[in-house]
């Protein structure tokens, strides 16, 4: 067995074990932070070094190819970025910091396994591992009520979604008698007309819709974003979304594009998700709730790319995963800096941010413009790729509805930008004192968002090759 190609996962597991032991040592949050940055940095390097690794492990239940490695690199970068903004970590009591890092790395490990799993049993247990570590991360929020009630809601909806998914997988297994994806991909297109196959697939996707916060499994998102610590919310809205996009692509590829029913099912969910997300976001006062509803809307846009089930559609969805990762993380970087005390933040509290910290205001504006899809940001390129992929398949109505939604979303993104740039700061609000290095990080992110938006070709080439490896 070739252990070298498994090295990113081993790095992650080792990090988790280190924090398991640190949780028994005396409390020292500075030490935890430095160890976490160093170890996750190593893991990012390992994943980037092994991006062209290929092979199969564990009796063919685990496939490593360019597709999985690109996603693993994105996941580990997401983890690294979230760890970087955890230097304050005031939303979680100090004695739980090692547990926070441990659960975060175990969750990333589970998500990496989710991306590589090609057997339904491995897929399911990896999904459960990532979900359970996220439930506990939400519970860790300081101040019992907020974390507990939203954690409970998260847990209950997650449990019912995973029961639905298990039922779907059982139907699928019963109909095809196959559990390996490489067998399923040959069998399913032939039996797709049978109701249990199509229902099994649709129900099996529900477990992932829950993680992605697609309608009708989106009810947890606003409460969890509000109730969880900022860093945890940042992780949920970036890394966990990225992994789910990968699995949805893999599951959709199983049908080989042979089923119009599944495409219609996904299209309806996409339309409802983006409409519900955008319309509800308008009424939000809390910045994190607003970001949650915008996540629901973005899940809808990604579904448009996924339901194309074509190389272009797959490429656009992978690129959009990177887009969501960069843009949502930048938003949460600003949230963490403005609300450094770990409390929730109303949009009004952003007033006069451009005076208090110009670089944070610039980062927020770029990220929100990116989410709204304004050129020359990466958000525009991502949406353009998705919409052209859908137009090539002839889904004109779907693209039109998505465009309407983009216009609606512009309204509430601009409200936030207006608060940051046009309103005067409240009395007694001095200059913002961000954590050391936050300015550099924000500047780098803004540069990346604009640079990839203008010149996406090198990354797009890599992603195109990854989409080819999916087939």
């Amino acid at each position: 067995m070739n252990w070298m190609i498994f090295s990113p996962e081993i790095c992650c597991l080792a990090t988790a074990l280190v924090f398991l032991f640190l949780s028994m040592a005396p409390v020292d949050s500075r030490r935890d932070y430095i160890v976490a940055i160093a170890l996750t940095g190593v893991a990012v390097c390992a994943s980037l070094a092994g991006i062209h690794a290929q092979g199969e492990l564990f009796h063919g239940t685990y496939r490593i190819d360019l597709f999985s490695q690109v996603f693993k690199s994105m996941l580990l970068m997401g983890l690294f970025l979230v760890v970087v903004i955890s230097s304050g970590l005031n939303g979680i009591e100090r004695r739980y910091h090692p547990e926070f890092y441990m659960l975060l790395t175990i969750c990333t490990l589970a998500l990496m396994m989710l991306v590589s799993a090609v057997h339904i049993l491995t897929l399911y247990v990896a999904l459960e591992l990532s979900s359970y570590s996220l439930y506990i991360l939400v519970f860790l929020r300081k101040g019992r009520d907020q974390g507990t009630s939203s954690g409970m809601k998260f847990f209950l909806i997650g449990a019912s979604a995973s029961a639905t998914m298990l039922f779907g997988l059982a139907l699928l297994y019963g109909a095809t008698n196959a559990a390996y994806f490489r067998v399923l991909i040959e069998v399913i297109p032939g039996v797709i007309h049978q109701p249990e196959v199509i229902l099994g697939l649709a129900l099996a996707l529900c477990g992932f819709f829950f993680k992605m916060a697609v309608f009708p499994f989106h009810f947890w998102a606003p409460d969890v974003y509000e109730g969880a610590a900022h860093q945890v919310a940042a992780y949920i809205s970036t890394a966990s979304k990225v992994a789910v996009i990968a699995v949805l692509l893999r599951m959709a590829a199983l049908t080989g594009g042979a089923s119009t029913h599944l495409v219609h099912f996904l299209a309806i969910l996409a339309i409802i998700s983006m409409t519900v997300g955008n319309l509800t976001a308008i009424a939000q006062k809390d910045l994190k709730r607003l970001l949650a509803f915008s996540s629901i809307a973005h899940a809808g846009y990604v579904l448009v790319g996924i339901l194309c089930i074509s190389p272009q559609g797959n490429t656009s969805a992978i690129f959009y995963a990177l887009t969501v990762l960069l843009l949502k993380f930048t938003c949460f970087l600003v949230v963490v800096q403005v609300a450094f005390d770990g409390e929730n933040i109303e949009i009004d509290r952003l007033a006069g941010l451009h005076r208090r910290s110009p670089i944070m205001a610039l980062a927020l504006m770029t990220a929100l413009f990116g989410l709204a899809g304004i050129p020359p940001t990466i958000g525009f390129t991502g949406k353009l790729l998705i919409f052209t992929a859908a137009m090539e398949k002839g889904y004109f109505a779907l693209v039109l509805i998505a465009m309407f939604n983009v216009v609606i979303s512009l309204y509430y993104y601009l409200l936030v930008v207006r608060a940051a740039y046009l309103l005067e700061p409240a009395e007694g609000e001095g200059a913002l004192a961000p954590m050391p290095g936050a300015g550099i990080l924000a500047g780098t992110l803004v540069a990346a968002i604009v640079a990839i938006g203008i010149y996406p070709t090198p990354i797009l080439e890599l992603i195109r090759a990854a989409a080819m490896a999916l087939g």
Binding site: T61, I106, H119, Y132, F139, E196, L199
Partner: protein, 175 residues
């Protein structure tokens, strides 16, 4: 109708009926007992299908361990009989919607033509063979489950420590 199918339908009715009663009971202890009966029915069903190991596991783990835990919790929290309606009316609509979807699934499965689909071969395996297969071919999944148990332990410690009323505020711990 063979004796096997007669037994199957008898057990199916038993499971359905006991689960339905368990869901509608106000008295939590009664509900748990009916659920135990339902689990026994499922265990017999597994036995009928030629999976004695699964049947034994069902009785030992579900009817035994988990239900006893439920009984403990019910008795410790003294939740004897809920006075008000179990669900508020506004929760009925989504519940009916979900039931409708599953009912549709059931009807479609029953009316679908399965004559040309080959039946799944029965895989009767001795417990030792099953264990070897699981631990050799799927040990990654086993390891993932072991990690799941580890983090569940961490979560329970965190929740239990806070609920025990022994929590000290941050400032005290730091001193």
């Amino acid at each position: 109708m063979t004796i096997y199918s007669t037994l199957f339908y008898l057990l199916a009715v038993l499971i359905l009926a006991s689960t339905a009663i368990a869901v509608t009971r106000r008295n939590m202890v009664h509900a748990v007992i009916y659920l135990v009966i339902s689990f026994f029915g499922s265990a017999l069903l597994f036995y009928l299908f030629g999976a004695p190991l699964l049947a034994a596991l069902e009785v030992i783990i579900y009817a035994g361990a988990i239900m006893i835990l439920f009984l403990f919790i019910v008795m410790m929290l003294r939740m004897e009989g809920l006075e008000d309606r179990l669900f508020p009316l506004k929760q009925w609509l989504p519940a009916v919607g979900v039931c409708f979807v599953y009912g549709m699934v059931l009807v479609m499965l029953i009316v679908s033509d399965t004559t040309d689909a080959p039946p799944m071969p029965a895989a009767a395996a001795a417990p030792a063979t099953f264990g070897q297969f699981l631990f050799q071919r799927h040990w990654l999944a086993i390891e993932i489950v072991s990690m799941l148990l580890l983090i569940a332990l961490v979560g329970v410690l965190r929740l239990g420590r806070d609920a025990g009323g022994k929590t000290r505020p941050e400032s005290e711990v730091a001193q």
